[in-house]
């Protein structure tokens, strides 16, 4: 592993390497939010809250307790998952946009909390976090997360989560415990959000509450929606595009966010279901076959 790391850092420009690592971290977080919002249909607009809980917890565990990196990662994601559970509970009584504002509120409260949190350096933030997050580690964790998410979503439990999104009443009538699955979806989403945050903190060296504001939650949500709700390739591609695109737009400097905003509007107008919404490998094969058959029919 160390050899791979050395080799990669030699052949890839540090600037590009940085973008690649951020793409990986964003893929992890987008896959998490995809479980909550894309698959189970519980609109969460406060993913940055989970990210910051993971980032701060892991950074404090590393800095103040001198714990090993893996322990910091685990602590960060676990604390985030615990909060995912807590935030999942109101989800049982609230639907759609009501849930959205509760998750926004949760993330804002977390942000204000860290603004006043002495061990977290208040508004100044924390610096000097050991830079443990490496290319190989991010690659490895991303692959593991993709593997297990794929496993989950193709299992019957995963299909039941889609069923909750598609029709809650029918899902209950099929014996599916929708309450249980909604909370589970929040816990899983929060766990991966916290993991992403912990990796982020140990890559950026410095974190502050401004890193985890409302805009950050929206960025992660955009990745999931742009790719296509509920689709794993969609979330991966969404995360990649929305991480790389703003970097490419750096040439237009201050117009960057202007393009970003306009692009979101245009994308939603022309691809309302995201780039990969509704698309399965099976459909691709079928369309190709159908196209092949066409001449015979006419």
């Amino acid at each position: 592993m160390r050899f791979l790391e050395q080799w990669i850092t030699q052949i890839i420009d540090p600037y590009y390497l940085r973008i690649i690592i951020l793409v990986g971290i964003n893929i992890i977080m987008a896959l998490g939010l995809n479980i909550t919002t894309g698959v189970t249909g519980q609109l969460s607009m406060g993913h940055a809250g989970f990210m910051s809980l993971g980032a701060y917890t892991s950074a404090i565990v590393s800095l103040k307790m001198g714990a090993p990196f893996w322990m910091a990662l685990l602590a960060g994601s676990t604390i985030a998952a615990v909060f995912g559970f807590i935030i999942g509970l109101p989800a049982l009584r609230l639907e759609g946009d009501y849930l959205a504002i509760v998750t926004i509120g949760f993330a804002e409260i977390v942000r204000v909390f860290f603004l006043n949190f002495e061990p977290g350096g208040k508004a100044v933030g924390l610096s000097g976090i050991p830079q443990e997050t490496s290319f190989t580690l991010v690659l490895l964790i991303t692959l593991v997360v993709i593997f297990f998410t794929q496993r989950l979503l193709s299992s019957r439990l995963g299909k039941a989560m889609y069923a909750v999104r598609e029709n809650e009443i029918a899902a209950e009538a099929c014996g599916i415990n929708t309450t249980h699955l909604k909370v589970l979806s929040f816990v899983l989403g929060a766990f991966l959000g916290g993991l992403g945050g912990a990796l982020y903190a140990h890559y950026m060296y410095y974190i502050s509450p401004q890193d985890f504001d409302f805009m950050r939650s929206i960025e992660i949500l955009n990745m999931v929606v742009l790719g296509g709700l509920g689709s794993i390739p969609g979330s991966i591609l969404g995360a990649a595009i929305l991480t790389i695109l703003p970097e490419m737009l750096r040439v237009v400097a201050e117009y960057r966010m202007l393009f970003y905003g306009a692009l979101l509007v245009l994308l939603m107008i022309f691809r309302p279901n995201g780039l990969f919404g509704d698309m399965r490998v099976y459909d691709l094969i079928k369309t190709r076959r159908a196209k092949g058959e066409k001449p015979c029919q006419s």
């Binding site: 299992s155 019957r156 299909k159 014996g175």
Partner: protein, 254 residues
């Protein structure tokens, strides 16, 4: 011994009494019909039985067990399957997944077994797959098993709902207007299907239906609801000649 027993079930929605003291006994292996004009409370009755609304008053016994105010999925796991008047499928899941997802959840593989692919998971997955394919085949949907549920025709969607309700091997099946929107040959097929399901799977069927011919042909016993009350109950020929039923409901047709 009845499979399902309702004792004085009432349901109120903000002052409106949708069900008013309903008593009902559904015998084992019966095909039991519930009829009544629009707004009589038939679908509400189904929703109370399946735990979507907890009844305001009354007792609900399924195989002697009180289930009033149980949550919906618990009632389902106990052995009550149902279909919906306005079809409720999982539109963006395949036909096969629609059925598999409804298979028995009582002893199903949990989260860790699922993502780690433990033996209990593989066993369950295989079992569900085989059972779902058999059911889909029985309902004539095998060729469409990989299609999204939303791409099926109306009649196919109705059949898929029945397949989904059957996979957990319920002892009571509730069908909410199964023949709605079907033409007469489809209705005949449906009647054969209902008989076949009852005999092959040894279950009890409770159905709400507007098509009088279908109800009178297949139901062994019928209860008539009007304004949330049960106004008559009996065998089809008794119902046909009951003056109160003719007045409130059949009167229009007879």
């Amino acid at each position: 011994m009845p499979v399902l027993e309702l004792r004085g079930i009432s349901q109120e929605f903000g002052g409106l009494r949708a069900l008013d003291g309903i008593d009902l006994q559904v015998p084992r292996h019966a095909i039991f019909g519930i009829i009544g004009p629009n707004g009589a409370g038939k679908t509400t009755l189904f929703n109370v039985i399946t735990g979507i609304y907890p009844p305001t008053e009354g007792q609900l016994l399924f195989q002697q067990q009180p289930i009033a105010s149980w949550s919906s999925h618990k009632v389902a796991r106990l052995g009550v399957g149902r279909t919906f008047q306005n079809i409720r499928l999982f539109n963006r899941l395949s036909v096969l997944d629609n059925v598999k997802v409804a298979a028995n959840w009582n002893r199903s593989a949990g989260f860790w077994a699922s993502i780690l692919g433990l033996p209990s998971y593989s066993r369950e997955q295989k079992h569900c797959q085989e059972k779902a394919e058999a059911l889909i085949d029985m309902l004539g949907l095998y060729d469409k098993r990989m299609e999204y549920a939303q791409s099926l025709s109306y009649g196919e969607q109705r059949r898929l709902e029945i397949a989904r309700a059957l996979i957990a091997e319920p002892s009571l099946l509730l069908l909410d207007e199964p023949a709605a929107g079907m033409n007469s040959s489809e209705k005949i097929e449906l009647m054969d299907l209902i008989w076949k399901i009852r005999d092959d799977m040894q279950l009890t069927i409770l159905l709400v239906e507007h098509d009088m011919h279908l109800v009178m042909s297949i139901c062994e016993q019928i209860a008539v609801l009007d304004y949330g009350r049960k106004i008559a109950e009996g065998r089809p020929e008794q119902i046909k000649s009951d003056p109160r039923v003719i007045q409130s409901y059949l009167g229009v047709e007879a």
